[in-house]
Symmetry: C5
Subunit: 352 residues, 5 copies
């Protein structure tokens, strides 16, 4: 579900190796916009991209590079925009912790996008951002599922202030889209917990503990991604990078707040899961107890009676009681008294 790739131990640093399971084809999209308009197009190859570092026409350019299977194209991109080879290695080795690394000429940000894919299971995908004054490069493995569409629409629509701000605001907007996608994911987890909570006492099934364990693992994974994401936003907010302009910081503060809220939710769900596991365990114990009580009551009543009737089923030649005409009925009386006595005893113990 969450991919994790790493370089061969001992390999030279900044070795770029293609992701083995990634499609080799690469799709590059360019979105150019400024206060006055917005222009989108699909680019054939890295070479066809405008060199944003030198052209300074005031336009913001967002280059989307989708696909990690074509190392040559990625290398070309890196050379064209002077991206650091160690950063490119991290782009390929997906499953990185979110991080912010300042390099000469650009900021490098790794974030983890979390969403429910159409088949309703939780997915994560690494998004790498290179931010400079007037361009932003976003790289991801697979562009099919995309949390960025609302951002694109805001740029197209031109409402708000997205078209009047620089690439750092665009980076904020993308990170915000990524972080806010955590809320519906957590809402689903919350609902799943609610369901389990309702059923754990009434009908704890064998699968309940498995569900809880799987929710716990999911929360652990989310936590592993969101904790450092908070640090990334914090570094952007309080760092002194030249690429983050002061007017963007009030928005980053808001974004920081969102990451803290998500952490809060994750932590409290973790506590709930732990508490539900305890409830489940005690619920299993209670059921064992209840089963045991049924067994004990029935056995305690009938085993002594069975002994008694066994006594008078013996074939001794000289059993005086057998010869009386009232013996059978007297025995019934005794047995009923014993049974009622036990019932009273068990009711007093609250076992019935």
């Amino acid at each position: 579900m969450f991919k994790k790739r790493y370089s061969r131990p001992g390999a030279a640093p900044a070795t770029l190796q293609a992701a083995p399971d990634a499609p080799a084809s690469v799709v590059i999209k360019l979105m150019e916009y400024d206060r006055n308009g917005c222009h989108e197009r699909v680019i054939d190859s890295v070479a066809a991209l405008p060199d944003c570092r030198t052209t300074d026409d005031g336009k913001i350019r967002w280059i989307e590079f989708n696909g990690l299977g074509d190392v040559a194209a990625l290398k070309a991109l890196g050379e064209k925009f002077s991206l650091h080879p160690l950063a490119l290695e991290d782009v390929l080795n997906v499953g990185q912790r979110p991080k912010l690394e300042p390099y000469a000429g650009h900021l490098f940000i790794i974030a983890q996008m979390i969403y429910h894919d159409p088949e309703e299971s939780l997915c994560g995908e690494q998004v790498s951002l290179f931010v400079c004054g007037n361009f932003l490069i976003s790289i991801q493995e697979d562009a099919e599922m995309d949390v960025f569409e609302p951002v694109r629409q805001r740029i197209r629509a031109g409402g708000g202030n997205i078209r009047t701000m620089k690439a750092d605001y665009l980076a904020y907007a993308l990170l915000d889209a990524i972080v806010d996608h955590g809320f519906p994911v957590l809402e689903q987890i919350g609902e799943a917990l609610q369901e389990i909570e309702d059923s754990v006492l009434t009908s704890p099934g064998k699968e309940t503990i498995g569900q809880l364990h799987s929710l716990k693992r999911t929360l652990m994974q989310l936590r592993r991604f969101v904790w450092p994401e908070r640090d990334v936003v914090n570094s952007m907010l309080h760092g002194d990078s030249e690429f983050i302009r002061p007017e963007t910081k009030v928005y980053l503060r808001d974004l920081y707040d969102h990451t803290v809220q998500i952490m809060d939710l994750i932590e409290s769900y973790r506590d709930v899961v732990t508490s539900l596991m305890d409830m489940y365990l005690s619920s299993v114990g209670l059921r064992t107890n209840e089963t045991m009580r049924v067994l004990t009551v029935i056995s305690s009543i009938f085993i002594p009676l069975t002994f008694l009737v066994g006594v008078y089923g013996m074939n001794f030649s000289n059993i005086p009681e057998l010869k009386t005409s009232w013996g059978y009925f007297a025995l019934w009386g005794v047995m009923i008294v014993i049974a009622i006595g036990q019932l009273i005893f068990f009711r007093r113990k609250k076992w019935l």
Copy 2:
């Protein structure tokens, strides 16, 4: 119980969307007071409010804005008093963590009010405060249940120093009312814990663990609200905001103390809940044990005896004992010896 609302992921920041389940009507109240007197009235619309930012007649004005269903009115309020759009977004997205955000021209405070509603269940409601030198705007969703009435009465009565202080003291008084409402809530939780503690060993019921779990969740939620509330008060106390005057700080120190006491209580109740869950588990184990012992004692005594009487119920043609006249009585003797022997054994093991 505790509402939580968030913006659509990818939405532009500072997007104001009406709370879907909030009543559309808004009630605005204005309380003007100074050393000499106090005047209250209900205002029809935001437009009718005095522009407190420019009028400087030494009066303190407290504007209560109740209802989150009318976004237009809220926008108007924001424009009239230059409230930051990001702050207004947080006002609408209730369920925020308590926080303090300094903006140019005003302090923005979010707090979470906790109380028992008339139907005796625990409720939380977000209160947003905008504090400036001589006015304070408080915004909440629903004004029916209100922890602020004692503050209003103190203003009307004019006792103490509330009428001689500025809006920062009013903010302190409101936060103090919110925080102190935590004490009776926690007292009720403490009593519930006491009851469970008394019963968990004597008669642990199936619902006990559910109650404990629900108390634990409540404490977790309180904790999530009170921890950051402490930070808010701390920021007011040690921050260097122009809107918090030094003479208010001694009161804020007192308020800080109250939040710490509440945290203390919450933490110790959490420990008690955990300990009670352990007691409950061991209590269930003990009961299983006890049930088991009854079953074992009865079975161990009667199963061998039943075997014995079964032996003499057999129809073999040649069972010498059957033909003696004393066999039956001898068997009774043997069986009584066996039974007494077992009773002694079980008493030695302290199972009886």
Copy 3:
């Protein structure tokens, strides 16, 4: 056991309300001493107290104010010595966390005295100290049980250096008496733990877990009082209050050490309690296991035999074995073999 009182939510700060269950009468004692002598007397009313703030005759005056039921007397005391109203509110709202608050003109210290009352249960009582250069006011609810008597005797005896030091040393001496009273209390807890430890494996009773839970709660409460007490001493030691003179600091360092030792003991007792709870649980599990084994062995041996004798108790007209003269004895042989086989099997499994 540990009282906790708080102001009505929304009440004005520094509202003094009498403790409802405190006796209305107040006892005021004054102890005046210097290098040359010591004089003690009981004072009728606050008005009769000397105004220590102005008289500077080199004498140290210790005013003991016992009883929280008479708010008027407390107010008078506050006015006479310019005690801050917020401090007086904390004096009345007993159950405060220990704290140190510097006010203009005096230091305000809250400590929690812990002792075993004559009926051998653990008690806590709040002691409030106001420290100034040459006088100290101590306020407590009830003077009957008193950990301060040894300090009074040291003042009367004049040994050591207590009569040559100022009020800050007296404050140290009182705090030291309070803190050191924790040692015998913890020693008793340690002995109780030792007893439980000895019995938990041999004879775990139903009440054991309750005792452990109650010890845990007590330790939690002690912890809640001692942690901040350590902070109080630390503030006195490292703060820059004018009321703590350098020559007292070496003693405060010693006191700090004692609080750390008490914390250490509390933490390790908490660990022991947790470990004993685990032992108890496993001990319950072991006993269930043992009970089960007895049941299983007896049932496994006799149930098949009972079946066998049942077979030959049947009344079929044609059961060949019944008619032989050796059948009965052969059956006994078979049954003895089966029983011995099972005994060997269970012994191999170490169930016997």
Copy 4:
């Protein structure tokens, strides 16, 4: 598996004692390289080594010293290169925590290499590095299993920038090889956890808990080695040692990142192990419950019926029912009704 050796208590510091179980023979290899070429040879004795401290021909020299059994050779090495005796003591006392110690003239680094040996069990081996400007000494116990081969091949091949950098980069490359070897080790642990996770609910065996415990111990040991390794890298990155040049720091930042990722994996695997242990416990409880239910259902149905047939097996002379011709069939009817009633009851309780 992980060796641990310490000096005799009370021994003088810097006492060198041969590792008792280490082979006495020592293998010394020298690799000399610079931008232009690379030369490798095996050295007979320490005396034959060039004195790298004085020769400054721009070449980097990597001295590999394999074997801890020959204290004399080690002492000679120490004297030749002025290595501190306390550092040499740590070289011999394997099982040290990874650490970085600056000495006059060289940096001393201890790292722990972790790998799967050919027999597929986890092994650790201490590697000690002495780093100076243009030479690096690596000391390890046993050179058979070696994670450094890829680094040697990179030096031989001359690709990348390893031949253009100094000894600090070589130290980085060696540490990187050591740290990155943690990834496949953790991947194996992850797979083992996955297998247990799949089986713990369906077929929890007796050995499962042992496997989990052993994985937990392994993770604990890895953690004990990786935590300080992170600190070592951090000290290299942020320390001000003259031996670490600024151009190496961007690579150390990358290495730091890898240690953090490994820590992350270890922590999350620890959480998974804990969660699986809980699942296992509840799974055992569930199976007990299930077994109990089978026993209870069968006993509850047949014990009362056995009693009934026992009643009519009695030999009383006057049992009216026995003489009827329909009694036997009526009893069957009654018994079937009882059995069906119980089956319905148990199905309602969801025990069947």
Copy 5:
């Protein structure tokens, strides 16, 4: 095992009270040494000791004062060497946390010596050190068991640099001897854990949990002594005391390292103990399960069969089956089919 003594609460600070259970006799030994030689003698009384504070002949003097029963001698010692009374109080109140306290004229160090006494149980003993430029006073309760002998022998032998260094190096050597004695103690604990680990799954006995609990307590106690010992060494290393000379610090860094290694071992053993307790619990659960399964299988097979044979043991006059000649054999057939069916069922459930 570990003694703990404290002053009577309320007692004046620096009150010296003899340890009640300490032998009253005191043994004082003096060791004088310098680069050239070493001289040892036993001193009769404190008065006979040379006044090391004034004599400055370059010799280092180590005064060993053994026995805490003679308060007068200790007082004399304190007066002769100007030892602070609060320090002497701590010397008598054994069981203190290890600590370092700078006083005017000397450093005061408390350490806890841990060793196995001849009867193989773990013991702790407080060692108090007073360190000055050229003399060191060590005070302990009982000199019989002594971890300092190797240090004495190193002084006598004159090897290493102990005779060329000052009293601070001697203090280091003594602390090093104390700390390093922790390694064999921990090794024994490690072996005990290994044994329990091997047996906990195969044959968990009733005493296992008690052993684990006692190991846990021991580890807790060690931890309580070693944590502050680390702080003591750290203070010596990084403090600016005039009594610790720079040339000793490289040795102190080594000692610090040893304390960290011991802490590491303690922490990992604690984790192992916790994990073993969990294993033990699950092992008990598994055994219960297994016992239950035997009972269930045997009962499930024979109880229905016993019912069947009971049916044909009834004495109804009209039971058609009884009169057939094949009835008995047919019943055996039915019963064998039922038994085999159940065996197959239980084997499918993997209960056999």
